[in-house]
């Protein structure tokens, strides 16, 4: 309880209450994440269970009763009679799962390499940062595509759908570690020269203990900002890959897969199949980004 009270009283909480944009963005993010987590409680239909679908419901317009069954769907249905609202909630689960996992993977990798690079220095630093530089010359989505292609080549065809999600996570994670590594390396160089690090050396702490116990906690606030912004990037990257048809498999469609399916019907007039998933993706990515921007300003005293 005391910890909660202290958190509510903190600088960050005060800044949060002063920023309507941050509060709105946080509300949207919480709503979207909450509704996807509790999707089975919100919708009666599991759109990816063929048994719960009725083909007669296909192409229902939003808010209009279906001409054959008389059922009404708030956001309409697609060609197979799947409720678009339900597909969005279930699709967002995949998008968020891939997004969060990819960011955590990128964060662990980037923070570790950044700490090593900054603390050890010398040749280790040169090698790690040159790899990072080389990777930065390619667009992130190209790196992800490349990794995805290689992974597809080495997995047997009958297992591709199973591993597709994990390949997606690794591909997106590997394309985003550089930001973390660079920021943590910079912060490590600053912290390393401070006297408390030298004091820890004199006490007899090992380099690993100094990195983990002393330097890491003091580099975490920029990492938090990058993680938030990376989450938005990862969700978009996942949607892009899925839109291109190389991401989430049709058995586990994400928001990107839904948008790809929807665009096939755009010119025949069934706009809602594309429109609502796309708007959801937009709202999600925008809110997460705004939160990240706010966090960066709130944690960086120099911008005040």
């Amino acid at each position: 309880m005391e910890a909660i009270a202290r958190a509510l009283d903190s600088d960050l909480a005060y800044r949060f209450r002063r920023s309507p944009v941050a509060m709105l963005a946080a509300l949207v993010v919480v709503l979207l994440i909450g509704s996807s987590v509790f999707a089975p409680l919100i919708t009666s239909q599991n759109p990816f269970d063929p048994g719960s679908l009725n083909l007669m419901n296909g192409f229902s317009e939003p808010m209009q009763p279906n001409q054959f069954t008389g059922e009404t769907f708030v956001l309409g249905t697609d060609d197979q009679g799947r409720d678009v609202f339900a597909t969005i909630l279930y699709g967002m689960r995949i998008s968020l799962f891939v997004g969060f996992s990819a960011v955590i993977f990128a964060m662990v990798l980037g923070v570790t390499l950044g700490l090593l690079s900054g603390y050890v220095g010398g040749r280790t630093d040169t090698i790690i940062m040159r790899i990072a530089d080389i990777q930065l010359t390619f667009p992130a989505i190209l790196v992800a595509l490349l990794i995805f292609g290689v992974a597809k080549g080495i997995t047997p065809p009958d297992r591709r759908d199973e591993v597709a999600i994990w390949v997606l996570i690794i591909a997106i994670g590997l394309s985003e570690w550089v930001q973390f590594a660079r920021v943590v390396r910079g912060a490590t160089l600053v912290e390393k020269s401070k006297e408390y690090v030298q004091a820890a050396r004199l006490i007899g702490r090992s380099p690993v203990a100094i990195m983990v116990r002393h330097i890491l906690p003091n580099t975490l606030s920029p990492v938090l900002v990058i993680a938030t912004i990376s989450l938005a990037l990862a969700i978009i990257a996942e949607a892009t890959l899925s839109f291109l048809g190389v991401g989430a498999p049709p058995t586990q469609p994400s928001l990107g897969t839904l948008i790809r399916i929807g665009q096939e019907f755009l010119f025949s007039g069934e706009w809602w199949i594309l429109f609502f998933p796309a708007m959801t993706l937009l709202a999600l990515a925008l809110s997460v980004n705004l939160l990240g921007d706010w966090l960066r300003d709130a944690l960086n005293p120099k911008l005040r």
Binding site: E195, A199, L202, G204, N218
Partner: protein, 329 residues
């Protein structure tokens, strides 16, 4: 009695960007006895901090010996170094940078106890805090909740945690207010008396060093130009640089003036030496008020002035024995 710590001909080079090298320490030698406070003074850039860092092996010396307990700390390996640092600890200049802002005081002071596997941590931490004059309740608090002087006490408690025999205090009071400075100096003096600590007290402020030191070394440009018992340095300074430094210590008119060895203010001309460009001959000659024709050609040896054992009272000036050096011409 053999000294606790002997430093002999300690040299530290730093490579410069242009391929040259900077002599931060140029053949430093001194002894430190058990329970002694040795003051090292000099202006900024003279290498006194490098001396502290090199003794602690935060920087590796280029050559020379640091003999402690029959071993040469300058060359021992990692494991032995950890052992040696049980006996030699350091207090840093900046009490805001030397404590990890995210650790509580208990964690900071207790960390050496964990590393060296000492039991009964909580009692020991409370004991240490008591020793440096902080309440037990400080344990749960974070460094930013303390003032500069209190933080320096915390840093001293951390240094004392593993019961070292020697403390290197690098400008340990320079960042503090004058009134707080005296508190910390008195604390160090008290610890010396109670625990038999030896302290190497590095400072740019002669009045601070004078207060506590048994012996004093005056550094100029990476060399100890004068070294000897505190009283003898203050009463009869031999090196022109020491005289100039002494004359700059403010004093109360009428009281100390009469006893002072350097009655008049000596104002040095010329620039603070650029460590990358060493002058020929005596390093001090471009600023010396007593400069003689020979000074820019031959470098003065560090000579023993009194006694026979080497580091007792030494001075590096051609004219250390000439009483006329007392006043500027």
């Amino acid at each position: 009695m053999s000294p606790l710590l002997s430093v002999r001909d300690l040299v530290k080079h730093y490579p410069t960007g242009s391929g040259g090298r900077v002599l931060a320490l140029d053949g430093i030698s001194f002894d430190l006895d058990a329970g002694e406070i040795l003051g090292i003074v000099g202006e900024s850039g003279c290498g006194k901090s490098t001396l502290g860092r090199t003794i602690m092996r935060l920087d590796d010396p280029t050559s020379g010996e640091i003999i402690y307990g029959g071993r040469d700390i300058a060359t021992i390996g990692k494991r032995d170094l950890k052992q040696a640092r049980r006996d030699i600890q350091m207090v840093f200049q900046d009490p805001f940078g030397s404590l990890n802002p995210r650790h509580t005081v208990g964690t900071i002071v207790g960390e050496p106890l964990i590393v060296h596997g000492i039991a009964n941590r909580r009692e020991r931490i409370a004991e240490l805090l008591d020793l440096v004059g902080l309440p037990k309740s400080a344990m749960e608090r974070l460094p930013h909740q303390f003032s500069g002087g209190q933080r320096q006490r915390i840093a001293i408690a951390r240094a004392l945690a593993i019961s070292p025999k020697i403390i290197v205090a690098d400008e340990a009071v320079s960042a503090l207010d004058v009134s707080i400075q005296s508190q910390i100096i008195n604390l160090l003096a008290k610890l010396r008396a109670e625990l038999g600590l030896s302290i190497i007290f590095i400072s740019h402020d002669l009045s601070v060093v004078r207060h506590v030191s048994d012996r004093i070394g005056v550094m100029y440009f990476g060399k100890l130009v004068e070294y000897g018992p505190s009283q003898s340095i203050f009463e009869a300074p031999r090196h022109p640089y020491t005289r100039a430094l002494l004359s700059a210590v403010p004093r109360i008119p009428g009281r100390e003036l009469a006893q002072s060895a350097v009655p008049e203010r000596i104002v040095l001309t010329g620039d603070v030496p650029n460590i990358a460009h060493r002058p020929e001959g005596c390093l001090f000659h471009p600023r010396c008020y007593w400069k003689q024709p020979d000074c820019d050609r031959t470098s003065p040896e560090l000579r023993v002035l009194e006694g026979d054992d080497f580091p007792a009272r030494t001075c590096a000036c051609h004219f250390a024995d000439d009483p006329a050096v007392t006043t500027p011409n």
